[in-house]
């Protein structure tokens, strides 16, 4: 199965994190269900054209977060009940950005209503750009 995400080596985000986030998002929207196998490290590395060590690091992060586990003789299997969990870790990532946004809003003496308005506007802007493929940044 082709991977449901891309990596952008020119983004300000390390590639292992882009891969981990790509799988996390795919699990969160049900693209990988409980019991499904992730592709092998080799297959992921070859398809994305990246260092296998980088793929290892991404998978290790998903394993540490309890989304996947190694199953003998099969590979990395998506665990049951991880869809909600993947969503929750998505919430956490959004909260981190919102906390930063709230700090800026407070510094600008903005009230809560205005803050919500802006958050909704950002949501609308993002939804017109779906699917959210990583930017294809110009190289060099």
């Amino acid at each position: 199965m082709p991977l449901p995400f891309l990596v952008n080596p020119n983004a300000p985000v390390p590639i292992f994190r882009q891969i981990a986030d790509g799988f996390r998002a795919a699990i969160g929207r049900g693209g990988y269900a409980a019991g499904d196998l992730l592709p092998s490290v080799r297959a992921i590395a070859e398809e994305l054209g990246v260092n296998p060590n980088t793929v290892h690091k991404a998978i290790a992060e998903l394993e540490r977060d309890g989304l996947v586990a190694a199953e003998r003789g099969r590979g990395m299997v998506v665990l049951a009940g991880t869809r909600a969990q993947a969503r929750a870790s998505g919430d956490e990532a959004v909260m981190q950005h919102l906390a930063e946004a709230a700090r800026l809003a407070a510094a600008a003496h903005m009230d809560g209503e205005r803050f919500e308005q802006l958050a909704r506007r950002a949501m609308r802007a993002a939804s017109t750009q779906q699917p959210t493929a990583p930017r294809t940044g110009a190289s060099s």
Partner: protein
């Protein structure tokens, strides 16, 4: 560009970062080679092409080399394969091996193809096969097919990109345990570029070979390298894990600093420039202490923070090296 150099950070402070020990790779192949270059020096007349270069690459590790033109990258590669003999220093491997065995287990992909240009591509491959004791015909055929090599075309008639593709076949057909790539992707088209990255990922997955790659295409280094080393005037001046380079380099755009402000000498500061009324500081590591120091000294400043990609993280380091001259 509306940018003037303002001051250079840490002219003489120790820039060498990261462990001197090469970081262990997670899946070195059983035949992967450790390479150690110690104190390499080589002068061409008055030019010190290499000037006490130290670099250790762990078995199965991929190290990316970054430097301005003339920093010594190609001389380093040529010294490793024995095309140059350094005036001083040692090149050693673990396991230890004879020069003949080393060359049989090393694959070099140079930036320009050096082989008889009256041969056609097929003859060149057969010629290298005859010289190379570990040549693997099945793997070579697969490489030729992946890279779309047309055997009947004369080398002198090949385009830049076709020459680069042939260089990969000539350099990698013997499944080397140590792969040396000197600016290997110049002039290749997007499809070939992806095919080459796939080949390199496969060699690293299947064989766990050790790799040294010099490239100005920093996105390729982000894809391939575990660690990036910066070369300047024949020495390694900084090294950093690739992921850390991306997460640990930020730009602070500082508004409202007094005129004539000078950046403090700090190892955290990579580069400081003034652009119009703002100061642009490129910072390594944790930005919080730098922000706090600025705000406590100048309470009215406004600071914006920009996360950098590997391109800017490397380019600003190279600019800083340039400023030191």
């Amino acid at each position: 560009m509306n940018t003037t150099e303002m001051s250079h950070a840490s002219r003489d402070s120790a820039v060498l970062r990261g462990s001197d020990q090469a970081s262990a790779s997670q899946n070195p192949g059983k035949d992967a080679i450790e390479l150690r270059c110690t104190g390499l020096s080589l002068r061409f007349g008055k030019v010190r092409a290499l000037d006490g270069l130290d670099l250790t690459i762990a078995p199965g590790e991929c190290v990316g080399v970054v430097g301005r033109n003339g920093a010594g990258k190609s001389t380093l590669f040529r010294s490793i394969i024995g095309a140059e003999t350094p005036d001083a220093g040692r090149i050693e491997t673990t396991p230890a091996m004879s020069r003949v065995e080393f060359l049989a287990r090393t694959g070099f992909v140079p930036d320009t193809l050096a082989i008889y240009d009256w041969m056609n591509a097929g003859q060149a491959i057969d010629f290298v096969a005859a010289l190379q004791p570990r040549f693997d015909p099945a793997w070579s055929a697969e490489l030729q097919s992946i890279l779309g090599i047309v055997r009947a075309v004369k080398i002198r008639d090949l385009s830049r990109g076709m020459q680069a593709r042939l260089a990969f076949v000539l350099g990698l057909s013997h499944r080397p345990d140590l792969v040396l790539l000197d600016e290997p992707l110049l002039g290749v088209d997007a499809v070939t570029h992806d095919a080459v990255l796939e080949v390199l990922a496969r060699m690293r997955s299947v064989q766990g070979c050790t790799m040294l790659i010099a490239s100005h295409q920093l996105g390729d280094l982000a894809r391939l390298a575990d660690r990036v080393v910066f070369l300047d005037r024949g020495r390694v001046v900084e090294q950093c894990e690739t992921d850390e380079l991306v997460t640990g380099t930020h730009r602070l755009i500082v508004h409202g600093l007094p005129l004539g402000w000078r950046p403090p000498v700090s190892n955290a500061l990579i580069l400081a420039r003034r652009q119009e009324s703002a100061c642009i500081l490129t910072v390594r590591g944790d930005v919080a202490p730098v922000r706090e120091a600025l705000v406590s000294a100048h309470p009215s400043v406004r600071i914006e923070e920009v996360a950098l990609s590997i391109h800017e993280a490397c380019a600003d380091r190279l600019r800083a090296l340039e400023d030191r001259t």
